[in-house]
Point group: C2
């Protein structure tokens, strides 16, 4: 059973895969006479290819249990896809760089506190892996013509386990 | 003291001003082998004018207290602006139709449960009116060149009061 190390999600570590959406380090703009803070422009939304348009959706994910078998990955070749959680519960991410899927380059992350992610266009990722409870996410992705989903089975499964979180 | 009636927020009542973002009545698509429900395309994001692009932000609003004096309105002439709450707390909306501001056409709404809104381009609205506690919202609006904010003081203040909620 081949285990994936599960790394803490940070902007630096996730940089090859897209944006970490979090308030620490975000540009803050006081608005509305100081009654509101605008944490500004948290993700690079990239949905214009082939006349795409931004979609706002809500994903409601069933919790998955560990150990969890990663058997496949998917990617959206025409646009980015951002996930913004409605709560502060940890969830897991499994990603691999743009291009032909390199199974040796697959990495896993766990969130801490309120953290979202924006997968850059073409980045391989596993579908939503919520933990513990049914979890809602605002998802901003691409609508429009063209095939925007590729799925690929792994040659060898990878496992997410409790003891692999560090 | 001129009071505004505060109406329950419904898709039908809010139709002249944009979208109500809610799960009841949304298109549901099971994805990820049935482990996730996608509540699909919840708002008409309209940010392309003058080469605009979608921004994803988080607004953190201080709670306002009732009675609350509505002294001004604002609008974004170049794009829509969507608010998606991170909690289920009620908040207030004050809106008026596109065009020259008609103070006699101003209406107020209160949310119930998880409800967001997407102000259509050019719709007059009051800045965020959170209640009870500091409240976070995901905001999807427009970035890019051009003046995208007009503010206008009211000739006569309007008041939001507890007893006006029905």
């Amino acid at each position: 059973m081949k285990k994936l190390a599960i790394e803490p999600l940070t902007r630096a570590a996730f940089e090859p895969f897209g944006d970490v959406i979090e308030l620490d380090g975000a540009k803050q703009i006081p608005i509305n006479l100081g009654t509101t803070i605008r944490f500004h422009d948290l993700a690079h939304i990239d949905v214009e290819e082939q006349n795409g348009r931004p979609l706002v959706n809500l994903f409601r994910g069933q919790p998955r249990v560990l150990p969890f078998e990663v058997k496949m990955m998917e990617r959206h070749p025409l646009g980015s896809q951002a996930f913004l959680p409605l709560n502060d519960k940890p969830y897991l991410l499994v990603v691999a760089p743009v291009g032909d899927l390199d199974e040796s380059a697959i990495r896993a992350f766990v969130t801490r506190g309120w953290q979202g992610v924006n997968y850059a266009k073409g980045v391989w990722h596993h579908p939503l892996i919520a933990l513990d409870e049914v979890s809602d996410f605002i998802v901003v992705d691409r609508g429009g013509d063209g095939l925007n989903l590729n799925e690929q089975d792994l040659r060898e499964s990878l496992w997410l386990t409790e003891d692999a979180m560090r």
